[in-house]
Amino acid sequence: MTEQGVALRKALVAATAKTILEHAEELTALDQAIGDGDHGINMKRGFEAVVADLDALAPKPWPDFLKGVGMTLVMKVGGASGPLFGTFFMTLGKELPIGPTADDVIRALRAAIVAVQARGKAEPGHKTLLDVLVPVVEQLEAGNRNLDGMVQKAHEASEATKPLKAIRGRASFLGDRSIGHMDPGARSSALMIAAVADVLKEVA
């Protein structure tokens, strides 16, 4: 395992955890509007656990590292976000080779989305994290790999969940009253994408 790989994995976790921790209250407030109000605190607990495990996780090759991150989120986040984000990272780990290329990453991202979709029994347009993940990956698949463009797409897509009516998750109980609020899972996805992009820009 290269030193750069270990440093990159540490930087990615640190940046992702930092943004989740900084925005935990905002995520909880979004979830209080249309869910059960635990998204921020749950995600915070999950990422704190990943950070606590980082010295053991970061030296592992990409597939095992990502599976480890996913498993920690599954065990520590609770809510529906734990299995959803956990499945996302575990599938990335399962799909990536040890020395992944950009093409490998995009292909693995698509597989991870398919797995999240199956786990949550949700489709794009249901006001979930998929409404950020799907358009972002579609843009990458279309050949636009600009990191700023990826972040912009993620933020636009999370904003675009506001007018949607929730079909899945606790927010779906609210029916039309879920309209007008941003989906918390979409917001946390956009935050994580921005954090990952910041780290990748430094190494690119």
Binding site: D36, D38, I41, N42, R45, V74, M75, K76, V77, G78, G79, A80, G82, P83, L84, G86, T87, R119, G120, R168, G169, R170
Partner: protein, 129 residues
């Protein structure tokens, strides 16, 4: 006879325990039964780790039927099933049924020695089709 085990997974440990009390009153100790509730920090929510422990506690070679309340309980239960050893995965199902009524009727069916798919179907008859 090996009877199907029942696991009750609620966001609230009080709901899960209360539902389990009602099951016990109906079927006594004839059916393996376990419950869990609360997230990994002990707040309202569900935890894969606790669900795995409950499935282990209610384990039966005839299989285990899980009753859940809200979305996260279902998603976490499905995640837990996938994390079971391969030979157990096919023997655990999540029932699409109301948690309290579903647990009581599933346990009643299980106490008669019915197979897992019958137990599940009986519980799911409670849900609007």
């Amino acid at each position: 006879m090996n009877r199907v085990g029942i696991v009750i997974v609620s966001h609230s440990p009080k709901v899960a325990e209360g539902a389990a009390d009602m099951v016990r009153q109906m079927v006594g100790n004839e059916v393996p039964l376990a419950w869990c509730g609360g997230d990994p920090a002990g707040n309202l929510g569900t935890s894969v780790e606790l669900i795995l422990a409950a499935v282990e506690a209610a384990w039966s070679d005839a299989g285990v039927a899980i009753l859940v309340d809200l979305g996260g309980a279902e998603t976490n239960s499905e995640m837990a099933i996938e994390m079971l050893p391969a030979e157990r995965q096919g023997k655990v199902v999540v029932c699409n049924a109301p948690i309290v009524e579903g647990a009581v009727i599933a346990a009643t069916e299980a106490s008669g020695g019915s197979a897992l798919d019958i137990v599940r179907r009986t519980a799911e008859e409670l849900s609007p089709q």
